[in-house]
Amino acid sequence: MAVALRRYSGLIAGAGFLVLWEVAAGVLARSGTPLATSKLPYPHAVVARIVQEAPLLLNSLWVTARGALIGLVAGIVLGVAISLLLAQSRALEAAFYPYVVGGQMLPTIALAPILLAALQNPTLTRIVVATYISFFAITIGTLKGLKSVPRESMELMRSYSAGRRQLYTKLKLPAALPFLFAGMKVAAPLAVVGEIVVELTGSTSGLGYLILSTQYYGPKYATLFWASMLITLALGFAFYRAVAIIERIVSPWQHEFRTR
């Protein structure tokens, strides 16, 4: 019983949230607030809209998921490459690490239109921004992981006269994997955010675009707006879950996965 409860606790919390939302929307609608249903529409109305507009939403979901995924994969490649580079020497790390951090301080929302103007291609811009926003967590995580190897392990490897290559493939990279995945779990939903930011600015497809246009055409589109928001949320969550699942496959030896 307790196991079942724990297993489904997420679902139960979600259902509870929906019930609360439904009640809150009902209270607001009854309070006589003008346009209550556009302020906070009923969740059942949002679900009905999702069913009604399934082709549009699926099409938008596909566009956003595709861009975010390519961006995330590129961000992972870039992030791992940068961290491998910075791990080579303390001087390199000292020289470039502050800029990696600093680069993340640039507001993406301001960067997106400039990149769009420079690249002149909305699809490419989305991917670049998703990459840019996701590589940071990967870099930080992997770099920490590469440096997390205990001194004794290093010494052991050296005593076996392991080469640089062996040192990385047999010790450092496997040790860094949990950190890489921790970074990826942060980066995956962020990639969706990056994609959405560009879609909000000068594109005509994707969930972000729908979030924008459904605000523009009046209260009638409020449920479609919330539908797009919910699907975006679900997409971010799905990205996170996908990383967690891949982690289990790739690094099953991790402590937290062992059956107790």
Binding site: P34, E53, A112, A117, L200, T204, Y216, Y217, G218, R248
Partner: protein, 360 residues
């Protein structure tokens, strides 16, 4: 029991992985790229930066594209979508686009910063940014805005309002409570504030469609007070225009666009359908059907901007020097520009002339 669970988990994992992989594969496969051509005979490529998402307010361009009017003029026209963070004029300055559609005031503001932009056609003859208020709030004209909460847009849209206020003897900085409104009309409809800036081609119709009749509203169009900063200026880059063959291409573009607008006005329902579909990223039958009503109203309102009552039909798209002088006066008075406006340098009348004389 454990085996079943383990297998289910493995299956789920494999499924998720397959999904991810197929996404990657599909994404890589479907990347399309277009090539440019500069050789004679090949269609001239023109990229148009829209100032907002491609809906009814750009119906003329959408229809000229969809009906093949651009193609018939040997043009390959790409309509680039705008958005809240896209500076349309800037896109033309940087060369990310060849043309844009914007307010005449934006043309002057850019030229004031020595940016090489020039207007080659003017479609709207009136202001498309009126102010609305519920009559129930005791507002029957702009003079009644005194002491009221007024939501406007900034970033260039405010100057027309300032000029209007001054015209009726009010100080826009002291006599009204100004604030920057969002781009939904929800707060106005909830009576959170009394006066809202709207566009005739969208927000005004959103208000109408939410069950408010025109009888309940006071609609103040600045143009009726001799104040007018119209949108619909076709702005291009002077340097682009100078390059070989581009003047001719621009004239062909203007001609095809005029044809597109006239087609849209003559076939409002069809064009509204195209606009609605374009606005909702070409999907969603139910939403498109619903939006078509709003787009129909939008296109009908734009017709009133481009062909106001008493307007000579053969002047469609022509730049009216008086109108441009009027805008120059407003922007100078309210500090949008620092230097004296060179009105005649801001537009090139030869393109519209070439577009309307001879040709096809």
């Amino acid at each position: 029991m454990h085996h079943v669970k383990a297998r289910a988990r493995a299956l789920m994992s494999a499924g998720a992985l397959a999904l991810v992989l197929s996404l990657v594969a599909a994404a890589c496969g479907s990347s399309g790229s277009e090539s440019t051509s500069g050789s004679s005979g090949a269609p001239a490529k023109i990229r148009v930066q829209l100032s907002w998402i491609p809906d009814g307010q750009f119906a003329g361009y959408l229809m000229a594209r969809d009906k093949g009017f651009y193609k018939a003029e040997n043009l390959d026209v790409q309509l680039l979508p705008g958005g809240p963070n896209v500076n349309a004029v800037q896109q033309v300055v940087t060369g990310a686009a060849d043309m844009t559609i914007n307010k005449v005031s934006e043309l002057y503001a850019a030229r004031d910063k020595r940016l090489p932009v020039v207007s080659i056609a003017q479609f709207d003859q009136r202001s498309s940014f009126p102010l609305v208020a519920f009559k129930s709030s005791g507002i029957n004209g702009p003079q009644d805005f005194k002491g009221k909460k007024v939501g406007i847009w900034y970033g260039g849209d405010e100057y027309e309002f300032f000029a209007l206020m001054q015209k009726v003897g009010l100080d826009p900085k002291k006599d009204v409570q100004l604030f920057e409104q969002g781009f939904t009309m929800d707060s106005f409809l909830k009576h959170d504030y009394q006066v809202a800036m709207v566009t005739t081609f969208n927000e005004l119709n959103v208000i109408r469609l939410s069950g408010v009749s025109d009888d309940q509203l006071t609609i103040v169009n600045p143009s009726d007070y001799g104040i007018s900063i119209p949108h619909g200026a076709l702005i291009t880059n002077e340097n682009w225009l100078k390059q070989g063959g581009n003047k001719d291409a621009a004239a062909r573009f203007v001609r095809a666009t005029m044809k597109g607008w006239d087609y849209a006005f003559a076939h409002v329902d069809e064009s509204a359908g195209v606009a609605a579909k374009s606005a909702l990223s070409a999907g969603g039958d139910a939403a498109t059907k619903d939006l078509t009503k709003l787009q129909t109203m939008s296109i009908n309102e734009i017709q009133k901007l481009q062909y106001p009552s008493g307007f000579a039909k053969d002047q469609h798209g022509k730049i009216d020097p008086t109108l441009y002088q009027n805008v120059a006066d407003i922007v100078s008075k309210f500090g949008l520009v620092k230097n004296k406006v060179d009105v005649t340098g801001a537009y090139d009348p030869s393109i519209w002339q070439a577009a309307t004389s001879g040709g096809k």
